[in-house]
Amino acid sequence: MRKQRLTYEKANTPPTIGVRKSWLSWNTSNLKDEEKSSQRAFEDLIIRKFITGTWVGRLEVISEVIIKRRYNCVYIAFIVNESRELLNANYFLKGYSEEMLSIILKCPVKCEIIRATNDDLVYGII
């Protein structure tokens, strides 16, 4: 009775980070002798809550949220359920998320939205 569909992220447990899968947050604060890693982690928490709470319904976030920091910008990448007819809502939510998060984080925020279906993300069924 295999019912639970797993994504690659869920199929690989946290001990396999750095072996089979890589990190969800990329920033220089996590490197050795660098500061403010706790601040970055707290901001990542806010970003993830915001994104998963904003992109709901037909435009649901169907993957984990990847947060990359380059220079003073925050790049947020995630996969959104593919729905062709909701382009306007897609554009609105993208601009809304970028604007609100850049006000909260006080730095430029870019959303890089990849579109796919739930079936594309299925890695295994248990």
Partner: protein
Amino acid sequence: MAAGAKCLLLTRFTHFNKNKCIFQISRCLQAIPTEPVEYEPKIDKGHYSIQRQFELQKNTVQYTFMIGLSPNGFREYDLYQHGRRFKETKFIFGRFKRSKMNEPPPAIPRCTQMPTDQHWPNVWPTAKTFNWSQVPFNVRQGFTVYKAVPKKKGNLELMKIPNFLHLTPPHIKQHCEALKDLCTEWPQELQTDEDCKKYFPVEVVTSDYLFSGPSIRDERARICTVKFDLDDLELDYHARDKFLRLVGDRYDKETNTVTFVTDRCPLRKQNYDYAIYLMTAVYFESWTTEPWESEKEESDWETYHWDLSSSRKSVVSIVQQMKQVSSGPEGDTTPMEEEELLQTPEIQEYKRCVTVLHNQGENADTLTDYKNAVLQLYKVPTSSNTPIVIS
């Protein structure tokens, strides 16, 4: 119902404005024109609509393309066929309602329509996350557990890692072309490292810290390091000795350089100024001779001077006594004779060996030389035994 009723799967808008509209039928089961066709739209209830007849093999199907510009500028389109709506989307009370009978066709990914001779920097101009629909080659990433190889579409691992699709050779070529105008020629006078060292004797090292965060401040950027060669300063024997005593550990004997590292001020400019001030102050201080410097004793000597040492007095007195014993009690030495004594090869050799022994330290060679010099000086027959250094 025409045979080609569901043939028309997708229309692509290659160009659109209020006056002109170009369609390209991109996928169809039957042969219909795929070239872009220009239409003259006519205004109907605030929407621009176009009618176009496609003649298929057996039946004639009429499609109506409804094109509209919504007040917020977004593009909307609907397809009609025989007066029946092919697709219907309405925005009512904040909820999207859609007729499930006519599911919209899936989007065709852009990567399948890319020409092979396209200019890649136009597709991927800057660093961005991997997008499966924009990369025209197959790529996979992931560990196989459930006998499923993670494919390109919707692969989160490919999105996580930094890619170099924005740094291909055409990109680099374009970057270099753009940067060429900003470059200047290398000065003709600075051909070798010696030239650089000659014209720029002082080396200043500072570090800029670039990290991902909203702030550009980093307190480590304040540290300033100033290096220079000791030979570039004009120093006599006393000044050089005093300079080395003043700088202490900052002098590297192997490379003959002095290094000042300043980090006590909050700003880099202040630290640089302080390092230059230190350099200047130490230089001029080393040239001044204080009255108490004449009180320097033998234990304060930086190197051993045999002519000023007690070793010279004792050697001279011993050699004179040896001469008195050999010549008789009435012989009395004069300063002239002392100077002559010092010029004898035995005493010169003894002087050299004692100086080397003090300056270089005790080892097998210096001790052997010292032993031979003493034996020669006191006219003792030399033996073949060499001293053994017990460490």
